[in-house]
């Protein structure tokens, strides 16, 4: 058990990279303009980051098992379409929400089965399911947006609870849940083991294959959940809305310090990674930096964060 917890320590020592960059961005943008550090703008940044946070949290777990889920963006999109179409057809937001979750869970289980039971490398397995999810999204909607969604869904994104915007509450709850799951349950210990020490898991009697399937299933489920937020934000569902988000999620996880080998993982780092990119984009928009420069800055940020880490880990 202690062997697994100490695996978290090296990750902690790598905090500075993403944290340094985030703090530097916050300071820099605050100095550059008066409108950055206002409650409204900070709330914007957090709300804009919520969907990505919901994807990046389970992605952290998946990457810790030396895997990858490329289908998350497409599954998110398909789930949002399922949600929207169900709500429009039945008039019930609850049924729509369940439909989205079901789609997410279904694909998550499929991914898990392909990786754990058949043994297809995660990159290819999820690349395949990406195509399937994307294809279904296009086929079912014939490329058109789904509209006519009742306002109750939209309120999930625009509403507040005790003056806090609901998306921020959802994001915080998801993080808390993820933290609990990863660091305080046997499932979490299994996730660490799946990346670093599968033998230990088998010896302990747990089914490593079942655990792996659960990891991917959680990923799919979260994508289904995030679909609610995305649909609420657009007040519609579009077959190409979520494309590419999985790469942003993976980058956030890597920037946050979770490495692709040996089962190291740091959930808070992922959160910082997502927020750092959100802050960067927002700050650059406020400064009206030309778009081509924005594109280059995102790349520079990502490399810089890990460069700092690399410097720190050198003796």
């Amino acid at each position: 058990m202690s062997q697994i917890r100490t695996a978290a320590l090296p990750a902690l020592a790598r905090v500075p990279g993403v944290a340094i960059v985030l703090v530097a961005l916050l300071v820099g943008f605050s100095l550059a303009g008066p409108r950055f550090l206002t409650p409204a703008n900070i709330a914007n940044i957090l709300m804009q980051s919520t969907v990505l946070i919901l994807l990046a949290l389970p992605m952290t777990l998946i990457i810790m098992t030396e895997g990858l889920d490329l289908s998350m963006g497409a599954v998110l999109t398909l789930a949002s379409i399922a949600l929207a179409m169900t709500v429009v057809a039945t008039g019930s937001p609850a049924l729509g929400f369940l439909a989205g979750l079901a789609v997410g869970l279904g694909f998550g289980l499929a991914n898990g089965a392909l990786v754990a039971l058949i043994g297809i490398p995660p990159f290819i397995a999820t690349l395949g399911t990406l195509g399937i999810a994307q294809g279904l999204a296009l086929a079912v909607t014939d490329g058109q947006s789904v509209v006519g969604i009742p306002p109750s869904i939209e309120r999930v994104y625009s509403g507040t609870l005790f003056a806090v915007p609901i998306p921020i509450i959802i994001g915080a709850a998801a993080y808390a849940l993820g933290h609990l799951l990863l660091y305080h349950t046997r499932f979490g210990a299994a996730v660490f083991a799946l990346g670093g020490n599968r033998e230990a898991l088998r010896l302990a009697g747990a089914s490593d294959r079942a655990m792996l399937i659960v990891v991917y299933a959680v990923g799919g489920l979260m994508a289904g959940f995030a679909a609610l937020l995305m649909t609420a934000r657009m007040n519609s569902a579009h077959p190409t809305a979520g494309i590419g988000l999985e790469f942003d999620a993976i980058a956030a996880v890597a920037v946050g310090g979770t490495s692709f080998e040996r089962g190291n993982g740091w959930l808070f780092g992922t959160l910082l990674g997502v927020v750092a990119v959100g802050v960067l984009r927002n700050g650059l928009n406020l400064l009206a930096v030309p778009s081509s420069a924005q594109v280059a800055c995102i790349g520079a940020l990502v490399i810089l964060a890990l460069f700092i880490d690399a410097l720190r880990s050198r003796p």
Binding site: G119, P121, G131, G135, A139, S292, V302, I303
Partner: protein, 322 residues
């Protein structure tokens, strides 16, 4: 320990041959299915088209194969192609010289490869992030440079490179065969090649046995970058124009070609010839969808299913094989 590192590539060779056989079988089955489904498939014109399209995908993915053999990944392939193509196009248009254009394209690609290699080998940044970051930066530079415009119209001597024929066979196919030979010889028959396999399988042991790991990584990424530059020239020659987003959709198919070809993301096993078969399979899928006129909405679905099928069969047979 080092003995194991040396014998491993040779074992990998015979296992690769077996797997290549299964993969070739998959490609052959696909061909047979398409031949039955469409009259146009087995025509000379279509076969040459498929070969030429495969050549392009293969050239993009061949350097990438070596990167993945070292347990790395290069996500900047598409962005590399975009920038190299746009710079080469400018040079050709400004100077009228195809030769200078070719040098620019390959040079730019190689330079990008060197940057990737430096980030991964010396700055120790994980290849996923290093190349992801490079992808964004290169895209930003390309967008800025092209400023929403296109460059079009190249001299016929240059265009032959992509759309010309020699003895009835498209020129890109010759380039493909050339690099298939170079790549396979390098990987299987040179010490450097064997070191690259070893690097991917067991980096620490390889380093301890005296191999200059950083220099090999740099070599591998530079080669991958140069191949991307070469591929960008063929694309330019084919479509006779350059636009900022040329490379955008090319990275994932290139990676898919390598993986379908049997090279493992964990490094240490795979082959350049496998990538050729992977490229062929992907090209056959697109060709088939056009010939059979599969509706636009269903195309990503068909592609995803076939990828899963091809790799699934490969994985299962790999497990049951001796």
């Amino acid at each position: 320990m080092s003995q194991m590192a040396e014998t491993r590539p040779r074992l990998a060779l015979s296992r690769d041959v077996l797997q290549a056989f299964y993969r070739l079988l998959a490609a052959a089955l696909l061909c047979a299915a398409l031949a039955l489904a469409s009259d146009a498939f087995l025509t000379l014109g279509n076969i040459l088209n498929v070969l030429r399209q495969t050549a392009l995908l293969f050239l993009m993915a061949s350097g990438l194969t070596l990167v993945i053999l070292t347990a790395g990944l290069d996500l900047s392939v598409g962005a590399n192609i975009g920038l190299s193509a746009c710079l080469a196009a400018s040079v050709i248009q400004a100077t009228g010289s195809a030769g200078l254009g070719v040098a620019t394209g390959i040079g730019c690609g190689a330079l990008i490869g060197i940057c990737n290699g430096a980030l991964v080998a010396w700055l120790r940044i994980p290849s996923f992030i290093a190349t992801y970051g490079m992808m964004w930066m290169l895209t930003g530079v390309t967008y800025y440079y092209m400023a929403g415009e296109t460059i079009h119209g190249f001299p016929p001597s240059f265009r032959q490179f992509g759309s010309g024929y020699l003895l009835g066979v498209p020129i890109p196919v010759y380039v493909m065969v050339l690099f298939l030979g170079i790549g396979t010889l390098f990987a299987q028959r040179t010490i450097w090649g064997q070191q690259i396999y070893a690097l991917g399988a067991n980096p620490e042991a390889t380093r301890l046995s005296g191999v200059p790991v950083e220099r090999r990584l740099l070599l591998v990424y530079t080669f991958s970058g140069a191949m991307a530059g070469l591929a960008s020239l063929i694309i330019l020659a084919r479509i006779n124009s350059a636009q900022g987003d040329i490379g955008e959709e090319l990275t994932l198919p290139a990676i898919a070609a390598v993986l379908i070809g049997g090279t493992s993301l964990f490094g240490g096993s795979g082959s350049v010839s496998g990538t050729l078969i992977g490229a062929l399979i992907l090209t056959l899928v697109l060709n088939g969808m056009n010939l059979l006129q599969i509706n636009a909405s269903w195309q990503p679905l068909a592609t995803g299913l076939i990828i899963l099928l091809a790799v699934g069969i490969d994985t299962i047979t790999r497990r049951t094989a001796p």
